[in-house]
């Protein structure tokens, strides 16, 4: 009779369902996947390609690799990057070259698309793995990437 086989099958499927959750309950110690974030900050390591925010690495002489070519500014879809630049006379060649005054990065407008870093011909900017970017003030999200008093690394030139 289908009436009773319905009941039997119904109860059976319910019990198999319960066995799945029950298995996880009684093995909870092994199966739990929660990461307790602020506690594991010391061991938490982001993947090296993780897109946290754009930074401009400086070496020990406070020198960076940015020539001020503005390719990143053009590549950015959102107007996240603004470069304030100037022309100065190069001491060696006597030609006028571009130097950056400020490389301004609006983190609040960044969509982490990575186009600026792809566009950079001199590898001046790269991703950092810092992910906790929250702050109490919106203005703190506008960052100047080149450090005060920094210079361009000698030998780094535009490929133009």
């Amino acid at each position: 009779m289908s009436y009773f086989s319905d009941i039997y099958n119904g109860v059976k499927t319910l019990l198999t369902g319960m066995s799945v959750t029950g298995k996880y309950f009684f093995n909870a110690r092994k199966e739990i996947i929660t990461q307790q974030f602020p506690d594991n900050r010391a061991t938490l390591k982001m993947f090296d390609r993780f897109r946290g925010e754009v930074v401009m690495p400086h070496d020990e002489n406070n020198e960076h690799r940015c020539t001020g070519c503005q390719k990143c500014e053009l590549a950015c879809p959102n107007g996240t990057i603004e470069i304030i630049w100037d022309r100065v006379v190069d001491e060696e060649t006597g030609k006028k070259i571009k130097v950056i005054d400020k490389h301004i990065y609006h983190l609040s407008m960044c969509t982490m698309c990575g186009l600026c870093i792809e566009a950079c011909p001199t590898d001046a900017i790269k991703w950092s793995q810092n992910f906790s970017n929250s702050s109490y003030d919106r203005t703190q999200l506008t960052k100047v990437l080149n450090k005060p008093g920094s210079k361009i690394m000698p030998g780094v030139k535009d490929k133009e």
Partner: protein, 355 residues
């Protein structure tokens, strides 16, 4: 070892020595009421904590573990938060009924709590229609849900309340009939009597074997439905109705509904324990000489059944409203009716298993 047995008796005697009988009686009642209120709040908070923790383990999570050791005080912190929250006043609600509804729910579950026997000793209110009283009182709660849903002037709440009405009307039958099956075995409605019978002849789930087991299954299904818990949580079905009947309640009024749900679960599990698992009795009478341990056995059994209901909740999808009725009227009710006859025959022929 007779000392613990007489705690309540000693207090009773001492009170009546101290003052005149009517005053002493009033004071005694107040004391018991305070004790139950305290138990109500404490059990509610603990059950909420238990539910959250158990749910977390089912779901590969940790659950609350920050406030206090193992997060034990989390629910207390939540309760404090709820107390301090604003009680939102709905402009177009029926103010009187809107405010009344949570009390209905909470009073109903408190009243039901009062007849529960925690041990041979701790039994506040042993009336001769005990089980019947439990049933009658625990279904008052639905009036609160209906009122709350209707008075909040919210269509989602109204749908929830209407579903609750229909659900309780249907499943009350199954709960009643499955209890009746056991009453056939016990021959009494009085709770102390029911347990006394089990003390002599073994727990009813063993004594009544097949029909008792069927009755137990039906009771658990219908009881889960009675408390509006998943898979029968159509009343608050969060993916359909947002929060159902208590959509418009906030703060402590919401907490009343929330606590009452957990206490109702406790009550259903307690009835199950009394009727099928021998109440405070220890398995094979191992601790019969220490009656106070009855409290422990009772709580263990109740929490076991509560755990079963939680297991249901975190495994099963929700029924649809017409399937809810199909399940009751097409499956549970006919089976239940046959089961009663079956049980009657078994009792009549003396086929029960007695130790």
């Amino acid at each position: 070892m007779n000392l613990p047995l007489s705690i309540t008796k000693n207090i009773h005697d001492w009170l009546f020595e101290l003052m005149s009988a009517p005053i002493a009686a009033v004071v005694e009642m107040v004391l018991i009421a305070v004790a139950f209120l305290g138990f109500f709040a404490l059990a509610g908070l603990l059950l909420v904590y238990m539910e959250r923790r158990i749910a977390a383990f089912f779901q590969l999570r940790l659950g609350p573990n920050r406030v206090g050791p193992q997060g034990l005080f989390q629910t207390i912190a939540d309760a404090l938060k709820l107390v301090s929250k604003e009680l939102v006043v709905i402009d177009k609600a029926d103010k009187f009924l809107y405010n009344l509804a949570p009390y209905f729910v909470i009073v109903a579950s408190l009243m039901a709590l009062s007849v529960l026997p925690f041990s041979q000793e701790f039994h506040a209110f042993d009336i001769n229609i005990g089980v019947f009283f439990l049933l009658a009182v625990s279904s008052i709660g639905v009036i609160g849900i209906l009122l709350g849903g209707w008075a909040s002037n919210n269509k989602y709440a109204l749908i929830g309340a209407m579903r609750s009405g229909l659900q309780t009307i249907s499943y009350e039958l199954s709960v009643g009939l499955s209890i009746l099956t056991i009453v056939l075995l016990a021959g009494s409605l009085q709770i102390s009597e029911i347990i006394a019978v089990q003390q002599k002849g073994g727990w009813f789930i063993i004594q009544g074997h097949i029909p008792a087991f069927i009755a137990f299954m039906i009771f658990m299904i219908a009881g889960t439905a009675e408390t509006n818990r998943a898979p029968f949580d159509l009343v608050e079905a969060e993916s359909e109705l947002g929060a159902g009947f208590h959509t418009e309640y906030s703060g402590m009024k919401f907490a009343y509904f929330f606590l009452a749900e957990f206490i109702n679960m406790f009550i259903i599990a307690a009835i199950g324990t009394i009727l099928f698992f021998g109440g405070w009795l220890s398995p094979f009478g191992i601790t019969e000489s220490i009656p106070l341990l009855g409290v422990m056995w009772f709580m263990l059994k109740v929490l076991g059944l509560v755990f079963l209901m939680m297991w249901f909740r975190w495994t099963f999808p929700r029924l649809r409203v017409d399937q809810l009725l199909t399940l009751e009227w097409k499956y549970l009710l006919p089976i239940n009716l046959f089961n009663i006859v079956f049980m009657a025959v078994i009792v009549w022929l003396g086929l029960t298993i007695n130790f």
